[in-house]
Symmetry: C2
Subunit: 232 residues, 2 copies
Protein backbone atom coordinates (compact mmCIF):
# COMPACT_ATOMS: atom_id res chain seq x y z
CA UNK A 1 0.00 0.00 0.00
CA UNK A 2 3.00 2.29 0.26
CA UNK A 3 2.92 3.25 -3.40
CA UNK A 4 -0.75 3.48 -4.26
CA UNK A 5 -0.35 7.22 -4.89
CA UNK A 6 1.56 8.23 -8.00
CA UNK A 7 4.13 11.01 -7.61
CA UNK A 8 1.74 13.38 -9.40
CA UNK A 9 -1.11 12.50 -7.06
CA UNK A 10 1.15 13.09 -4.04
CA UNK A 11 2.26 16.38 -5.56
CA UNK A 12 -1.36 17.42 -5.97
CA UNK A 13 -2.06 16.91 -2.28
CA UNK A 14 1.11 18.66 -1.11
CA UNK A 15 0.51 21.51 -3.56
CA UNK A 16 -2.94 22.09 -2.05
CA UNK A 17 -1.51 21.98 1.48
CA UNK A 18 1.38 24.34 0.80
CA UNK A 19 -0.39 26.84 -1.48
CA UNK A 20 -3.65 27.10 0.53
CA UNK A 21 -4.15 30.60 1.90
CA UNK A 22 -6.52 32.37 4.27
CA UNK A 23 -7.91 34.76 1.69
CA UNK A 24 -9.31 38.18 2.54
CA UNK A 25 -8.49 40.50 -0.32
CA UNK A 26 -8.41 38.94 -3.78
CA UNK A 27 -11.96 37.74 -4.32
CA UNK A 28 -13.55 37.96 -7.75
CA UNK A 29 -17.31 38.24 -8.09
CA UNK A 30 -17.75 35.24 -10.43
CA UNK A 31 -20.18 32.78 -8.93
CA UNK A 32 -19.00 29.28 -8.01
CA UNK A 33 -20.79 26.64 -10.12
CA UNK A 34 -22.95 24.27 -8.06
CA UNK A 35 -20.99 21.18 -9.06
CA UNK A 36 -17.74 22.76 -7.84
CA UNK A 37 -19.35 23.84 -4.57
CA UNK A 38 -20.77 20.36 -4.15
CA UNK A 39 -17.38 18.67 -4.64
CA UNK A 40 -15.94 21.01 -2.02
CA UNK A 41 -18.75 20.28 0.47
CA UNK A 42 -18.51 16.57 -0.27
CA UNK A 43 -14.81 16.72 0.62
CA UNK A 44 -15.77 18.30 3.94
CA UNK A 45 -18.39 15.61 4.53
CA UNK A 46 -15.71 12.93 4.08
CA UNK A 47 -13.67 14.16 7.03
CA UNK A 48 -13.03 11.85 9.96
CA UNK A 49 -15.54 12.20 12.79
CA UNK A 50 -15.51 10.81 16.28
CA UNK A 51 -17.66 7.67 16.39
CA UNK A 52 -18.61 8.37 12.74
CA UNK A 53 -20.99 10.98 14.14
CA UNK A 54 -20.67 13.41 11.18
CA UNK A 55 -21.78 16.22 13.49
CA UNK A 56 -21.52 19.07 10.95
CA UNK A 57 -23.92 21.29 9.02
CA UNK A 58 -23.13 23.75 6.25
CA UNK A 59 -25.22 26.90 5.82
CA UNK A 60 -24.58 28.48 2.42
CA UNK A 61 -25.21 32.22 2.39
CA UNK A 62 -25.47 34.45 -0.65
CA UNK A 63 -28.12 36.93 0.50
CA UNK A 64 -26.63 40.44 0.70
CA UNK A 65 -28.74 41.62 3.63
CA UNK A 66 -27.67 38.61 5.70
CA UNK A 67 -24.04 39.24 4.85
CA UNK A 68 -24.38 42.92 5.71
CA UNK A 69 -25.54 41.97 9.20
CA UNK A 70 -22.63 39.58 9.63
CA UNK A 71 -20.26 42.30 8.51
CA UNK A 72 -21.67 44.63 11.17
CA UNK A 73 -20.92 42.00 13.79
CA UNK A 74 -17.37 41.80 12.45
CA UNK A 75 -16.98 45.58 12.68
CA UNK A 76 -18.20 45.71 16.26
CA UNK A 77 -15.90 42.87 17.31
CA UNK A 78 -12.91 44.33 15.51
CA UNK A 79 -13.41 47.65 17.26
CA UNK A 80 -13.86 45.90 20.60
CA UNK A 81 -10.75 43.75 20.19
CA UNK A 82 -8.64 46.70 19.06
CA UNK A 83 -9.14 48.18 22.54
CA UNK A 84 -7.03 45.34 23.91
CA UNK A 85 -3.85 46.73 22.35
CA UNK A 86 -2.09 50.09 22.19
CA UNK A 87 -0.66 52.07 19.31
CA UNK A 88 1.28 51.52 17.14
CA UNK A 89 0.09 47.88 17.23
CA UNK A 90 -3.53 48.99 17.34
CA UNK A 91 -3.26 51.11 14.18
CA UNK A 92 -1.48 48.33 12.37
CA UNK A 93 -4.18 45.88 13.44
CA UNK A 94 -6.95 48.19 12.24
CA UNK A 95 -5.20 48.66 8.88
CA UNK A 96 -5.17 44.94 8.10
CA UNK A 97 -7.79 43.53 5.71
CA UNK A 98 -9.33 40.75 7.80
CA UNK A 99 -12.49 39.64 6.01
CA UNK A 100 -14.12 39.37 2.60
CA UNK A 101 -17.74 38.98 3.71
CA UNK A 102 -19.21 41.29 1.06
CA UNK A 103 -16.52 40.70 -1.58
CA UNK A 104 -16.77 36.91 -1.80
CA UNK A 105 -19.85 35.59 -3.65
CA UNK A 106 -20.48 32.79 -1.14
CA UNK A 107 -20.34 32.76 2.65
CA UNK A 108 -20.54 29.53 4.59
CA UNK A 109 -21.26 28.94 8.24
CA UNK A 110 -20.11 25.53 9.51
CA UNK A 111 -21.80 24.33 12.68
CA UNK A 112 -21.48 21.53 15.25
CA UNK A 113 -24.43 19.46 16.44
CA UNK A 114 -23.55 17.69 19.72
CA UNK A 115 -26.82 15.73 19.63
CA UNK A 116 -26.15 14.04 16.26
CA UNK A 117 -26.38 10.25 16.69
CA UNK A 118 -26.09 10.83 20.48
CA UNK A 119 -26.05 10.72 23.40
CA UNK A 120 -23.55 7.83 23.29
CA UNK A 121 -20.97 8.57 20.60
CA UNK A 122 -18.05 6.14 20.46
CA UNK A 123 -14.82 7.86 21.41
CA UNK A 124 -16.50 11.03 22.70
CA UNK A 125 -17.13 9.95 26.27
CA UNK A 126 -13.69 10.70 27.73
CA UNK A 127 -12.97 13.88 25.74
CA UNK A 128 -16.28 15.52 24.73
CA UNK A 129 -14.45 18.21 22.71
CA UNK A 130 -13.63 15.61 20.04
CA UNK A 131 -17.03 16.35 18.47
CA UNK A 132 -15.93 19.89 17.71
CA UNK A 133 -12.54 18.60 16.55
CA UNK A 134 -14.31 16.54 13.87
CA UNK A 135 -15.97 19.67 12.49
CA UNK A 136 -12.57 21.38 12.25
CA UNK A 137 -11.19 18.43 10.27
CA UNK A 138 -14.11 18.86 7.88
CA UNK A 139 -13.28 22.55 7.49
CA UNK A 140 -9.70 21.72 6.58
CA UNK A 141 -10.83 19.19 3.96
CA UNK A 142 -13.09 21.88 2.53
CA UNK A 143 -10.28 24.42 2.48
CA UNK A 144 -7.92 22.11 0.59
CA UNK A 145 -10.56 21.02 -1.93
CA UNK A 146 -11.42 24.67 -2.53
CA UNK A 147 -7.74 25.44 -3.14
CA UNK A 148 -7.47 22.68 -5.74
CA UNK A 149 -10.59 24.09 -7.45
CA UNK A 150 -9.05 27.57 -7.51
CA UNK A 151 -11.50 28.82 -4.88
CA UNK A 152 -10.14 31.01 -2.10
CA UNK A 153 -11.42 30.60 1.46
CA UNK A 154 -11.09 33.09 4.31
CA UNK A 155 -12.07 32.20 7.89
CA UNK A 156 -13.59 35.18 9.72
CA UNK A 157 -13.28 34.63 13.46
CA UNK A 158 -13.71 38.25 14.56
CA UNK A 159 -17.43 37.72 15.08
CA UNK A 160 -19.90 37.35 17.91
CA UNK A 161 -21.40 33.85 17.81
CA UNK A 162 -24.59 35.16 19.42
CA UNK A 163 -24.98 37.53 16.48
CA UNK A 164 -24.47 34.60 14.08
CA UNK A 165 -27.08 32.54 15.92
CA UNK A 166 -29.59 35.32 15.62
CA UNK A 167 -28.85 36.24 11.99
CA UNK A 168 -28.86 32.63 10.76
CA UNK A 169 -31.56 31.37 13.17
CA UNK A 170 -29.23 28.76 14.62
CA UNK A 171 -30.82 26.86 17.55
CA UNK A 172 -29.37 27.09 21.03
CA UNK A 173 -27.90 23.56 21.07
CA UNK A 174 -25.98 24.05 17.80
CA UNK A 175 -22.50 25.60 17.96
CA UNK A 176 -21.25 27.87 15.15
CA UNK A 177 -17.64 26.81 14.49
CA UNK A 178 -16.53 28.72 11.42
CA UNK A 179 -17.71 31.55 9.20
CA UNK A 180 -16.02 31.28 5.81
CA UNK A 181 -15.88 33.56 2.77
CA UNK A 182 -15.47 31.70 -0.53
CA UNK A 183 -14.87 32.73 -4.09
CA UNK A 184 -12.55 32.59 -7.05
CA UNK A 185 -9.53 34.84 -6.64
CA UNK A 186 -7.25 36.88 -8.84
CA UNK A 187 -4.27 35.06 -7.27
CA UNK A 188 -3.11 33.18 -4.19
CA UNK A 189 -0.31 34.88 -2.28
CA UNK A 190 2.92 32.93 -1.88
CA UNK A 191 2.91 33.34 1.89
CA UNK A 192 0.27 33.95 4.58
CA UNK A 193 -0.84 37.61 4.81
CA UNK A 194 0.35 38.02 8.40
CA UNK A 195 3.77 36.62 7.51
CA UNK A 196 4.00 38.96 4.50
CA UNK A 197 2.99 41.91 6.66
CA UNK A 198 5.78 41.06 9.10
CA UNK A 199 3.26 40.53 11.91
CA UNK A 200 4.67 37.11 12.84
CA UNK A 201 7.29 34.74 11.36
CA UNK A 202 6.73 31.11 10.46
CA UNK A 203 8.28 28.91 13.16
CA UNK A 204 11.00 26.46 12.13
CA UNK A 205 9.41 23.01 12.02
CA UNK A 206 12.10 21.70 14.32
CA UNK A 207 10.93 24.03 17.10
CA UNK A 208 7.53 22.36 17.38
CA UNK A 209 8.65 18.71 17.38
CA UNK A 210 9.51 16.81 20.55
CA UNK A 211 10.61 13.25 21.07
CA UNK A 212 9.12 10.81 23.61
CA UNK A 213 8.00 13.55 25.99
CA UNK A 214 7.22 17.26 26.17
CA UNK A 215 10.23 19.55 25.70
CA UNK A 216 12.69 16.94 24.48
CA UNK A 217 14.23 17.89 21.17
CA UNK A 218 16.63 15.71 19.23
CA UNK A 219 18.98 17.92 17.41
CA UNK A 220 21.04 17.32 14.41
CA UNK A 221 19.66 14.52 12.32
CA UNK A 222 16.26 16.14 12.10
CA UNK A 223 17.62 19.60 11.51
CA UNK A 224 19.61 18.28 8.59
CA UNK A 225 16.56 16.55 7.16
CA UNK A 226 14.59 19.72 7.56
CA UNK A 227 17.15 21.77 5.66
CA UNK A 228 16.95 19.18 2.90
CA UNK A 229 13.17 19.48 2.89
CA UNK A 230 13.45 23.25 2.60
CA UNK A 231 15.80 22.84 -0.33
CA UNK A 232 18.53 24.80 1.39
Amino acid sequence: MQDDFSQQEKNGLYKAIHSRRDVRAQFKHDSIPDDVLLRILDAAHHAPSVGFSQPWNFILIKDLETRRKVRESFERERERSSQLIDDPKRSRYLSLKLEGIMDAPVNLCVTYDPTRFGPFVIGRTSIPETGVYSVCCAIQNLWLAARAEGVGVGWVSILDNDDLREILQIPEHIVPIAYLCMGYVTHFEGKPDLERAGWLPRLPLNDVIYFEKWGASEGNGWQKLQRKLNGS
Copy 2:
Protein backbone atom coordinates in the same frame (compact mmCIF):
# COMPACT_ATOMS: atom_id res chain seq x y z
CA MET B 1 -6.17 30.92 -11.07
CA GLN B 2 -9.06 28.53 -11.64
CA ASP B 3 -6.96 26.01 -13.51
CA ASP B 4 -3.62 26.05 -11.75
CA PHE B 5 -4.20 22.45 -10.64
CA SER B 6 -3.99 19.77 -13.33
CA GLN B 7 -6.71 17.11 -13.32
CA GLN B 8 -4.18 14.63 -11.92
CA GLU B 9 -3.21 16.97 -9.12
CA LYS B 10 -6.88 17.50 -8.24
CA ASN B 11 -7.41 13.75 -8.34
CA GLY B 12 -4.53 13.27 -5.92
CA LEU B 13 -6.10 15.58 -3.36
CA TYR B 14 -9.57 14.08 -3.69
CA LYS B 15 -8.12 10.56 -3.58
CA ALA B 16 -6.44 11.36 -0.25
CA ILE B 17 -9.65 12.88 1.12
CA HIS B 18 -11.90 10.00 0.06
CA SER B 19 -9.58 7.08 0.82
CA ARG B 20 -8.31 8.36 4.19
CA ARG B 21 -9.32 6.06 7.04
CA ASP B 22 -9.18 6.06 10.81
CA VAL B 23 -6.95 3.00 11.10
CA ARG B 24 -6.96 0.67 14.10
CA ALA B 25 -6.28 -2.82 12.85
CA GLN B 26 -4.00 -3.11 9.84
CA PHE B 27 -0.69 -1.71 11.04
CA LYS B 28 2.57 -3.24 9.88
CA HIS B 29 5.65 -3.00 12.05
CA ASP B 30 7.91 -1.43 9.39
CA SER B 31 9.34 1.82 10.66
CA ILE B 32 8.46 5.08 8.91
CA PRO B 33 11.59 6.68 7.37
CA ASP B 34 12.45 10.06 8.88
CA ASP B 35 12.03 11.94 5.60
CA VAL B 36 8.50 10.59 5.20
CA LEU B 37 7.62 11.48 8.78
CA LEU B 38 9.07 14.91 8.26
CA ARG B 39 7.00 15.57 5.12
CA ILE B 40 3.90 14.55 7.05
CA LEU B 41 4.73 16.82 10.01
CA ASP B 42 5.63 19.64 7.64
CA ALA B 43 2.17 19.29 6.07
CA ALA B 44 0.64 19.66 9.53
CA HIS B 45 2.81 22.70 10.22
CA HIS B 46 1.45 24.36 7.07
CA ALA B 47 -2.13 24.33 8.33
CA PRO B 48 -4.00 27.60 8.74
CA SER B 49 -3.79 29.04 12.25
CA VAL B 50 -5.67 31.90 13.84
CA GLY B 51 -3.52 35.04 13.72
CA PHE B 52 -0.71 32.86 12.25
CA SER B 53 -0.13 31.69 15.82
CA GLN B 54 0.98 28.14 14.85
CA PRO B 55 -0.02 26.98 18.33
CA TRP B 56 0.82 23.28 17.89
CA ASN B 57 3.46 20.86 19.11
CA PHE B 58 4.08 17.30 18.00
CA ILE B 59 5.45 14.72 20.45
CA LEU B 60 6.70 11.65 18.61
CA ILE B 61 6.58 8.50 20.73
CA LYS B 62 8.22 5.18 19.98
CA ASP B 63 9.18 4.03 23.48
CA LEU B 64 7.31 0.83 24.36
CA GLU B 65 6.99 1.54 28.07
CA THR B 66 5.43 4.94 27.36
CA ARG B 67 2.98 3.38 24.94
CA ARG B 68 2.11 0.64 27.42
CA LYS B 69 1.08 3.31 29.94
CA VAL B 70 -1.04 5.10 27.34
CA ARG B 71 -2.70 1.80 26.47
CA GLU B 72 -3.57 1.27 30.14
CA SER B 73 -5.28 4.67 30.14
CA PHE B 74 -7.23 3.59 27.06
CA GLU B 75 -8.31 0.36 28.75
CA ARG B 76 -9.53 2.15 31.87
CA GLU B 77 -11.47 4.71 29.82
CA ARG B 78 -12.98 2.09 27.56
CA GLU B 79 -14.21 0.11 30.54
CA ARG B 80 -15.56 3.27 32.16
CA SER B 81 -17.38 4.42 29.02
CA SER B 82 -18.87 0.98 28.40
CA GLN B 83 -20.80 1.40 31.64
CA LEU B 84 -22.80 4.15 29.94
CA ILE B 85 -24.58 1.68 27.65
CA ASP B 86 -26.43 -1.62 28.07
CA ASP B 87 -26.16 -4.92 26.29
CA PRO B 88 -26.27 -5.80 23.46
CA LYS B 89 -24.77 -2.42 22.52
CA ARG B 90 -22.20 -2.70 25.29
CA SER B 91 -20.88 -6.06 24.10
CA ARG B 92 -20.70 -4.83 20.53
CA TYR B 93 -18.82 -1.74 21.69
CA LEU B 94 -16.33 -3.81 23.66
CA SER B 95 -15.77 -6.11 20.68
CA LEU B 96 -14.68 -3.25 18.41
CA LYS B 97 -10.97 -2.71 17.76
CA LEU B 98 -10.54 0.94 18.72
CA GLU B 99 -6.81 1.59 18.94
CA GLY B 100 -3.43 0.50 17.59
CA ILE B 101 -1.21 1.99 20.29
CA MET B 102 1.13 -1.00 20.56
CA ASP B 103 0.71 -2.19 16.94
CA ALA B 104 1.69 1.02 15.18
CA PRO B 105 5.43 1.82 15.18
CA VAL B 106 4.91 5.52 15.88
CA ASN B 107 2.53 7.31 18.23
CA LEU B 108 2.07 11.06 18.09
CA CYS B 109 0.55 13.42 20.61
CA VAL B 110 -0.53 16.76 19.14
CA THR B 111 -0.91 19.58 21.64
CA TYR B 112 -2.21 23.15 21.80
CA ASP B 113 -0.26 26.02 23.38
CA PRO B 114 -2.62 28.94 24.13
CA THR B 115 0.33 31.15 25.12
CA ARG B 116 2.11 30.93 21.74
CA PHE B 117 2.68 34.46 20.38
CA GLY B 118 0.08 35.66 22.93
CA PRO B 119 -1.68 37.13 24.73
CA PHE B 120 -3.08 39.16 21.80
CA VAL B 121 -3.60 36.81 18.88
CA ILE B 122 -5.39 38.35 15.86
CA GLY B 123 -8.78 36.74 15.37
CA ARG B 124 -8.79 34.90 18.70
CA THR B 125 -10.23 37.63 20.88
CA SER B 126 -13.93 37.07 20.10
CA ILE B 127 -13.85 33.27 19.88
CA PRO B 128 -10.94 31.93 21.98
CA GLU B 129 -11.63 28.35 20.84
CA THR B 130 -10.22 29.20 17.40
CA GLY B 131 -6.75 28.41 18.78
CA VAL B 132 -7.75 24.80 19.29
CA TYR B 133 -9.49 24.77 15.90
CA SER B 134 -6.14 25.60 14.26
CA VAL B 135 -4.56 22.53 15.83
CA CYS B 136 -7.36 20.35 14.45
CA CYS B 137 -6.76 21.74 10.95
CA ALA B 138 -3.10 20.74 11.35
CA ILE B 139 -4.15 17.23 12.33
CA GLN B 140 -6.28 16.89 9.20
CA ASN B 141 -3.38 18.06 7.00
CA LEU B 142 -1.21 15.44 8.70
CA TRP B 143 -3.82 12.74 8.18
CA LEU B 144 -4.12 13.43 4.45
CA ALA B 145 -0.37 13.65 3.89
CA ALA B 146 0.04 10.35 5.73
CA ARG B 147 -2.60 8.75 3.50
CA ALA B 148 -0.77 9.88 0.36
CA GLU B 149 2.44 8.40 1.78
CA GLY B 150 0.67 5.09 2.46
CA VAL B 151 0.81 5.66 6.22
CA GLY B 152 -2.31 4.84 8.24
CA VAL B 153 -3.36 7.10 11.10
CA GLY B 154 -5.75 6.23 13.93
CA TRP B 155 -7.00 8.86 16.40
CA VAL B 156 -7.40 7.40 19.90
CA SER B 157 -9.80 9.57 21.88
CA ILE B 158 -10.75 7.04 24.55
CA LEU B 159 -8.04 8.36 26.86
CA ASP B 160 -7.75 10.45 30.01
CA ASN B 161 -5.92 13.69 29.19
CA ASP B 162 -4.62 13.86 32.78
CA ASP B 163 -2.95 10.48 32.21
CA LEU B 164 -1.42 11.82 28.99
CA ARG B 165 -0.13 14.92 30.76
CA GLU B 166 1.55 12.78 33.39
CA ILE B 167 2.98 10.16 31.03
CA LEU B 168 4.34 12.71 28.53
CA GLN B 169 5.23 15.39 31.12
CA ILE B 170 2.97 17.94 29.44
CA PRO B 171 2.81 21.24 31.40
CA GLU B 172 -0.46 22.42 32.89
CA HIS B 173 -1.03 25.23 30.38
CA ILE B 174 -0.66 22.96 27.34
CA VAL B 175 -3.75 21.09 26.08
CA PRO B 176 -3.42 17.59 24.57
CA ILE B 177 -5.67 17.59 21.49
CA ALA B 178 -5.01 14.29 19.73
CA TYR B 179 -3.25 11.01 20.33
CA LEU B 180 -2.49 9.35 16.99
CA CYS B 181 -1.16 5.93 16.02
CA MET B 182 0.80 5.91 12.77
CA GLY B 183 2.29 3.24 10.58
CA TYR B 184 2.28 1.57 7.20
CA VAL B 185 -0.71 -0.70 6.72
CA THR B 186 -1.53 -3.90 4.89
CA HIS B 187 -4.47 -2.10 3.27
CA PHE B 188 -6.90 0.78 3.67
CA GLU B 189 -10.53 -0.25 4.03
CA GLY B 190 -12.97 1.04 1.42
CA LYS B 191 -15.28 2.46 4.08
CA PRO B 192 -14.95 3.66 7.69
CA ASP B 193 -14.84 0.79 10.22
CA LEU B 194 -18.00 1.92 12.02
CA GLU B 195 -19.90 2.13 8.74
CA ARG B 196 -18.68 -1.36 7.75
CA ALA B 197 -19.69 -2.71 11.15
CA GLY B 198 -23.19 -1.31 10.66
CA TRP B 199 -22.80 0.90 13.74
CA LEU B 200 -23.88 4.06 11.88
CA PRO B 201 -24.64 4.96 8.24
CA ARG B 202 -23.05 7.78 6.27
CA LEU B 203 -25.49 10.67 6.07
CA PRO B 204 -26.58 11.86 2.62
CA LEU B 205 -24.67 15.07 1.88
CA ASN B 206 -27.94 16.83 1.14
CA ASP B 207 -29.08 16.31 4.74
CA VAL B 208 -26.31 18.47 6.16
CA ILE B 209 -26.55 21.44 3.78
CA TYR B 210 -28.80 24.42 4.44
CA PHE B 211 -29.38 27.59 2.42
CA GLU B 212 -29.32 31.13 3.81
CA LYS B 213 -30.34 30.07 7.32
CA TRP B 214 -30.48 27.07 9.65
CA GLY B 215 -32.94 24.36 8.63
CA ALA B 216 -33.68 25.62 5.13
CA SER B 217 -33.07 22.97 2.49
CA GLU B 218 -33.41 23.54 -1.22
CA GLY B 219 -34.52 20.38 -2.76
CA ASN B 220 -34.23 19.17 -6.23
CA GLY B 221 -31.41 20.85 -8.07
CA TRP B 222 -28.91 19.90 -5.43
CA GLN B 223 -30.21 16.40 -5.00
CA LYS B 224 -29.78 15.82 -8.72
CA LEU B 225 -26.25 17.17 -8.60
CA GLN B 226 -25.50 14.95 -5.67
CA ARG B 227 -26.70 11.85 -7.47
CA LYS B 228 -24.45 12.82 -10.37
CA LEU B 229 -21.54 13.22 -7.97
CA ASN B 230 -22.23 9.77 -6.56
CA GLY B 231 -22.21 8.37 -10.06
CA SER B 232 -25.73 7.00 -9.70
